[in-house]
Symmetry: C2
């Protein structure tokens, strides 16, 4: 990935936030053809965990240990030159785009046994259900046992052992204080709250 | 891409909407290593148009005519089993994720001459500025001529000749009417307006 130094994200908390807020990863792999699967993934220590449909050929195309790239897409938005107060002085600005993205490189491993799949599905649903429904969180035990066993038979579990993380945060860090502050206000005014928060974090961090 | 038949998006208007609403494409290519550039792209007829920083090696790594995959990511959101009214009857539901994605396969061509770059930059900025600022739209002519010439020297223009478009819309189409309607309400309540609109379009289309 092309990353100019001022956009090279190295803050672990910022990287974790993009991954946690945008769990639907684009998992890119080569067979040698280019393939992409869209899978919700969670980071657990040095691994990403998830599952995919058994009908998705990915687990047949890749051997355990194969390289994959999981891309987590943060928020993004167009940035108009009109938003820089300094434009009124010298008009030396052009449009750009602000965004955050995290590349997680790793080695994938698939799980076909029911116990592993239960463990992985439990971890994912606990996380997403607690976020969504709090104390009303759905759990596997809510479903009839034979139904749940059939659903687990329809999926394959997976873990990706992380080998490298690379991240880019393009958040107007290369602008002067007044221009940066006003782009942040425009982001807030246009409901790009996540980008505004990320911009503030970068300014203060 | 793994696309079960009921999630195979074939509505040209729906595909165009995802591309227009999410122009920051992930452009994936093989050198033979896997690479990704994040570039705002617009569809113009049988082409995608855009530009990239001259400092981005992509235009040195790929020859004109090389295959690339431009991915346009629509909105996405977790779907809880609690949102299906039919869950209360039989509890036979599991979590899932709704999302829309468009894969545009094509052959890239780069432009290094100033006239082509002006044409491409004009097309992109007109589109994004008109959307953002209406009659107050910024235009290249607002910037000093020598400044604009320097900025154009910093970029490379590109066009991608589209060879194949593939799209997936996972929008609860496989649910009964009551479950579908309530997932749509939950999306609206959680400010996932774009997904709610896409779900309604699918139901009515």
């Amino acid at each position: 990935m092309y990353i100019p130094e001022h956009f090279h994200e190295q803050d672990e908390a910022a990287i974790a936030a993009v991954m946690a807020d945008h769990p639907l990863a684009s998992v890119v792999y080569q067979t040698p053809e280019l393939n992409v699967s869209y899978l919700p993934l969670l980071r657990r220590g040095d691994r990403l965990i998830g599952h995919l449909a058994k009908a998705n050929d990915m687990h047949r195309e890749l051997a355990d240990g194969a390289d994959v790239l999981a891309i987590f897409h943060g928020a993004d938005a167009y940035v108009s030159p009109n938003w820089y107060p300094s434009k009124a002085e010298h008009h030396k600005h052009v449009p750009t785009w602000n965004y955050q993205v995290v590349h997680v490189h790793g080695k994938i491993r698939f799980y076909h046994d029911e116990a592993s799949k239960r463990r992985l599905v439990h971890a994912l649903t606990s996380e997403f259900e607690t976020r969504t429904n709090g104390t009303e969180a759905w759990k596997m035990g809510d479903a009839p046992q034979d139904f749940m066993r059939d659903r687990l038979a329809d999926i394959v579990g997976l873990e990706i052992e992380i080998t490298r993380v690379e991240s880019k945060s393009k958040l107007s860090q290369n602008r002067d204080e007044g221009d940066h502050a006003n782009v942040m206000r425009e982001m807030e005014a246009r409901s790009h709250d996540e980008l505004a928060v990320a911009m503030a974090r970068h300014r203060d961090g």
